[in-house]
């Protein structure tokens, strides 16, 4: 699993990909955490455009990323959510805690 990321004006965008489930959740959490620690951005945007599936493990990934950003007084947002991930995030209410940006 390899995530592309770029930093622009203090905003770190991380492009996630593949299927997020319990089997892969730890990898996602660690990779995102390492990138946040490296770049300490003001805002981190998780780009889900290439994510084809997520279950509740994706909620844990988002919550962990949110905590990580809160520790450095930054904020987290999401973008590029396909239909299936969006349904999971809506059912959990996480879409109300994290800002969802339009695809740039």
């Amino acid at each position: 699993m390899h995530f592309t990321s770029f930093l622009q004006n203090g905003v770190l965008t991380i492009a996630l990909n593949g299927e997020i489930d319990h089997h892969r959740a730890r990898g996602y959490i660690e990779k995102i955490g390492a990138k946040i620690d490296t770049y300490t951005p003001d805002e981190c945007v998780l780009d889900f455009s290439e994510v084809t599936f997520t279950d509740s493990s994706g909620i844990a990934v988002v919550i962990n990323s949110m905590r990580r950003m809160a520790q450095i007084e930054g904020k987290l947002s999401m973008t590029g959510l396909g239909e299936q991930p969006m349904r999971v995030f809506r059912a959990s209410g996480i879409d109300k805690l994290v800002q969802i940006r339009e695809v740039v």
Partner: protein, 147 residues
């Protein structure tokens, strides 16, 4: 409900099997001609149920997980996920949103997702014996397609 077709899967509680289980169930359910959204719902619910077996039923060991999918008349699918693990002491508590006995990789939303993505859920569990989750979902006909 009259039974029309079925399949069963059996595999050890390795997390690598989560993707296999949800894909295999979705493949078999495809003969009901569901919408992409319905197939996504089935994949998601199966993923949650199977993950529960892997994380909670067999916390320190590998055990058997059995998934049975039945296609019933009137376009119902019934998914049964069964384990012979530690069991759930308090099923009502386990079904509460955000409740989890798992670590930081778990969100405590597994049962909530299963509930919102299917039409009914039944959980039977006995401590020391195992747990069976039965999910049912009705498939709507895809518009403008005759079957």
């Amino acid at each position: 409900m009259k039974f029309e077709n079925y399949m069963t899967l059996e595999f050890p509680s390795k997390s690598a099997n989560e993707a296999f289980a949800r894909s295999a169930v979705a493949c078999f359910a495809a003969q009901m001609d569901p919408t992409l959204e319905e197939l996504g719902d089935i994949r998601t619910a199966v993923s949650e149920a199977v993950t529960n077996c892997i994380v909670h039923a067999y916390p320190d060991t590998l055990g058997k997980v059995a998934v049975r999918l039945r296609l019933l008349d009137e376009d119902w699918v019934e998914i049964q996920v069964k384990d012979w693990g530690v069991g759930i002491p308090d099923v009502d508590k386990a079904r509460e949103p955000l409740f989890t006995t798992g670590n930081e990789e778990r969100s405590g939303m597994g049962f909530t997702i299963m509930e919102s993505f299917t039409d009914s859920i039944r959980v039977r569990s006995k401590v020391g014996k195992g747990t069976t989750v039965v999910l049912r979902k009705q498939i709507a006909h895809r518009p403008a397609l005759s079957r």
